[in-house]
Symmetry: C3
Subunit: 459 residues, 3 copies
Amino acid sequence: MAATTMKASFPLLMLMGISFLASVCVSSRSDPQNPFIFKSNKFQTLFENENGHIRLLQKFDQRSKIFENLQNYRLLEYKSKPHTIFLPQHTDADYILVVLSGKAILTVLKPDDRNSFNLERGDTIKLPAGTIAYLVNRDDNEELRVLDLAIPVNRPGQLQSFLLSGNQNQQNYLSGFSKNILEASFNTDYEEIEKVLLEEHEKETQHRRSLKDKRQQSQEENVIVKLSRGQIEELSKNAKSTSKKSVSSESEPFNLRSRGPIYSNEFGKFFEITPEKNPQLQDLDIFVNSVEIKEGSLLLPHYNSRAIVIVTVNEGKGDFELVGQRNENQQEQRKEDDEEEEQGEEEINKQVQNYKAKLSSGDVFVIPAGHPVAVKASSNLDLLGFGINAENNQRNFLAGDEDNVISQIQRPVKELAFPGSAQEVDRILENQKQSHFADAQPQQRERGSRETRDRLSSV
Amino acid sequence: MAATTMKASFPLLMLMGISFLASVCVSSRSDPQNPFIFKSNKFQTLFENENGHIRLLQKFDQRSKIFENLQNYRLLEYKSKPHTIFLPQHTDADYILVVLSGKAILTVLKPDDRNSFNLERGDTIKLPAGTIAYLVNRDDNEELRVLDLAIPVNRPGQLQSFLLSGNQNQQNYLSGFSKNILEASFNTDYEEIEKVLLEEHEKETQHRRSLKDKRQQSQEENVIVKLSRGQIEELSKNAKSTSKKSVSSESEPFNLRSRGPIYSNEFGKFFEITPEKNPQLQDLDIFVNSVEIKEGSLLLPHYNSRAIVIVTVNEGKGDFELVGQRNENQQEQRKEDDEEEEQGEEEINKQVQNYKAKLSSGDVFVIPAGHPVAVKASSNLDLLGFGINAENNQRNFLAGDEDNVISQIQRPVKELAFPGSAQEVDRILENQKQSHFADAQPQQRERGSRETRDRLSSV
Amino acid sequence: MAATTMKASFPLLMLMGISFLASVCVSSRSDPQNPFIFKSNKFQTLFENENGHIRLLQKFDQRSKIFENLQNYRLLEYKSKPHTIFLPQHTDADYILVVLSGKAILTVLKPDDRNSFNLERGDTIKLPAGTIAYLVNRDDNEELRVLDLAIPVNRPGQLQSFLLSGNQNQQNYLSGFSKNILEASFNTDYEEIEKVLLEEHEKETQHRRSLKDKRQQSQEENVIVKLSRGQIEELSKNAKSTSKKSVSSESEPFNLRSRGPIYSNEFGKFFEITPEKNPQLQDLDIFVNSVEIKEGSLLLPHYNSRAIVIVTVNEGKGDFELVGQRNENQQEQRKEDDEEEEQGEEEINKQVQNYKAKLSSGDVFVIPAGHPVAVKASSNLDLLGFGINAENNQRNFLAGDEDNVISQIQRPVKELAFPGSAQEVDRILENQKQSHFADAQPQQRERGSRETRDRLSSV
């Protein structure tokens, strides 16, 4: 049937002279139809207790087929109260861990070694798949918030975590081995192993029925648990702090701001650590950036040449606009479009499409490669981005004084590409004295002050 | 049901002694059933006007599941009249661009730089994803024809192009941003931006209904447009030409013939640039080759050890034969075979299969790794090939004086592998004095001249 | 419907306080439900005659979706009688070939060269895709058994072999070319080519109907055929033997034991060649290991940090235990779980799960990354493993004196993670004096001797 549709519609489209990616009507779509924004409620809670929680963002490719290349990337958010610990565990995924806020001690175990690090906001480290680690909120007052990009190794987009803790009502994964394997492994009677490393199984089963609510609670307490001040002091003894040097270390954390910003002015700052700068990011081919946009400012329109960027709003509010494309009759013909796409007819008759979203803390948005984007801050906005396909990525700005790729177009081509003359185009390009970041409402302010003036004078 | 079929058929096949890949009957398939050939009508027109067109080949994996590993490769053909320009655009795909015929100026923009290159037939360059470029046909008479292999970065096998041109009735992608983002970005009133960079929106909407046909036409004119001689002169001012040196450049074009042919004799020439020779091809792991087969000559049977090669017929006519395999009852049992394949039974009971096709200009064929192939030219034939999995690919010839892998088989194994004695096998292997290319009809000619002689003498 | 299920079940699960990967009931699953074990009957016979056979293991991802990342890996077993040869062929897959037992001569052809190698147990070589090779069992008495890991290049998980042999009733792939291509290629009359290189076609077609059974038999004989002692001598003339040096060769075979064991004691030995040690394994990113566990011994619980390991039981019997996870209501709700997984809810409510299997010669098991595993030998057990994602893989032991990652946990965390005190935990960890391998039944023996003593004293 799809084939029939094609045969009918395809020559027709051609007759109608539908062009490559031309469009006359630029429509705008509200959030429910904007696949690029993941509001914070798209995180699902994996674990939660009084001490903190772990949340996992919806699969990107589950939201939309356009994120097929993100199927093996997952975003995790971890939050915990002061003086708590996330107990030892390992996961079948590589992690890039970034501290969004708070102060942590991260301890990473190896078969014959152990490393502890003091982490602060912006500190970043790669935890290779299978690393056993635990994470302490060492601060007296502040919550600890951590964002992880996870890249699973066993199965695309699927994570499995193995928790090495067990007391009272909960089992650790060692209990997954049979009695005789455990006895032989630890050269110890099973009762002793059970008492010291596992829970007391028999007793527990009795409790289980009568004390279900209690059990659940204590079970939960077991993933993120409280620490005394003394315990924190003991754990922080040999913890190293992130140094400027560590930006190129193979295994130590580095701070996103340890190198100066790549773009910076009074309206914002852009920090970025690329695979070229840090060996930990090389085999994953990922960059991590941190972008600060001042209230009332704008990150100028630009696109990433080859990276797909997953951006999390750490703090603040703002607006996001992305230019994409959609098929002409997308809304009416969704089903058919899908089928046509399967037929490889997807490139025909695309239209320019504006995708807008309001941003607030905890939201995530995705910027595909080549797609122009701009972000406006309505309050100081702090963004954290992970860029996939980072190597050789180039950020091409479409406005601004420097790095503005449009200003590189030769005179005769400017004349042909734009309705105005080359002089007129250049005059507009030169109006913006700022680069990368600019005032978000220079015209409105002017107009505003003009209007005020007018109103005043009319009084 | 598939499982039942298997259970029934599997032991039966074994009883019948069906072997690994043995076959008695070699059948031959006509074009409709030959998945390896894509006739030129399998290109779909993305854009067309009086100045030229852009066409995109059907997805390889849409044609057949056997091309699953080609799902992220697309083939584009671009053609334009003398004194025209393909206006600035970028695409979310890496491109390998090869000039098939004509003379071009390619201009590549960077945020702070611009490079223009004079291109001629055989000139090749990688355009990384997101590169803004424009392409001029600078010749006074000749059409420009360009072939692109595209490797999308956002979504497997899907391309999106962003056109940076807008006048009269068509919008550029800047119009995808909202009014206030544009005003802030260019620090300019929207009316001015609209007039100079975008189209005149209001006016246009009125025209839109009344002048639909006209609009479509001018809209099309906007992708590939005419250039005056003066404009071409201005654009060619700083254009560099391809030098012999540039074969190993990171970003400059190189010519496929800048190094001598790897195989050459009176019957044909074989040029090839591999990732080992050119850094632009390294991360894509692709080779590009150009093969010239003289009328009446044959590219001898050979296979590529690991590369899958996508070959386009640039000029000429010929015949292509490929040796593949098919399941014994493929035609009768297509559906079931598919299901059996899902069951992993695909390797059993394969038969040698001859796949033939007539070749003419614009046709494309695919040679999977390991599959023996031969090509015969009925007129001078010019082929352009892109090889996927290029690194360490080895071309093993099955006939000819040199590079003939069969001649390396040891004597006792020749006796066992072939019906003839080792001496008889060697005698046949030595009959062919040519390597790589040879006369396509030495026997027929002999016979022909014999027959002529006979006829003459019988007269 | 799945969505409805989710909406209903998700908040409920949260209310019930289901945690991350906690579990109270650890259940154990018998073989039919254990996706990690492939009994030897999961090999399918591709070819079999009186001289030997070739068998191919079921696709990993066909068994279970959890092996999605193994979809492009296949396991082949080859077995042949003394004084036989597997005739020349090539396949569209990279191979890692390991000799399980017996003595072979492997001959590898290149267009202009040929290399023969004497192989013995543990000798390993990479055969790049498309390599023409033949394999002789040169021993007078012993069977030759070879295991191949195949990584196809044309199509995920699908192999095609091209056999270069033809006599009597079977065709080689050269017969896939048409008569006139063959005549031109070999510059020889077709009758001669047919007689010497192909079979006699006409005659054969007649035979075909009348002598079907005979044909099938002789057809089979043609893949693995007998060799005389004289032929073997001729073939072994220039065959090189594997040297200690060749462990780092680009193309020569190396022995898995050419470097000392990485773990070794009286209970077992562990040999491993990683990509870091051998260039042949680098681009495939695979390690190969050979593990010997003495009768009554245990390979201590451990996990691979990032490698997925495919293990074949070469010799002996034993037991295998793997700790995995499963969804809580998996058995009841299989269908729904699948749907929920599609919804990305897969991570919630996972339980620790013990997967057990009896091992015997020819069985295969898969150990996903991060999954704890232990293997017990009931008779001397010899295992051969291929590790996918080998680079930077780390083996973390969970018991034993050395390399025990649990012993690296800091004191206060031990207290919190385990029910016992830090001292109690340390006491158990120190009970095991062995590393990596240990006695599988120290307790039972003690108890056994105690019971015997008791029984004796009670007499």
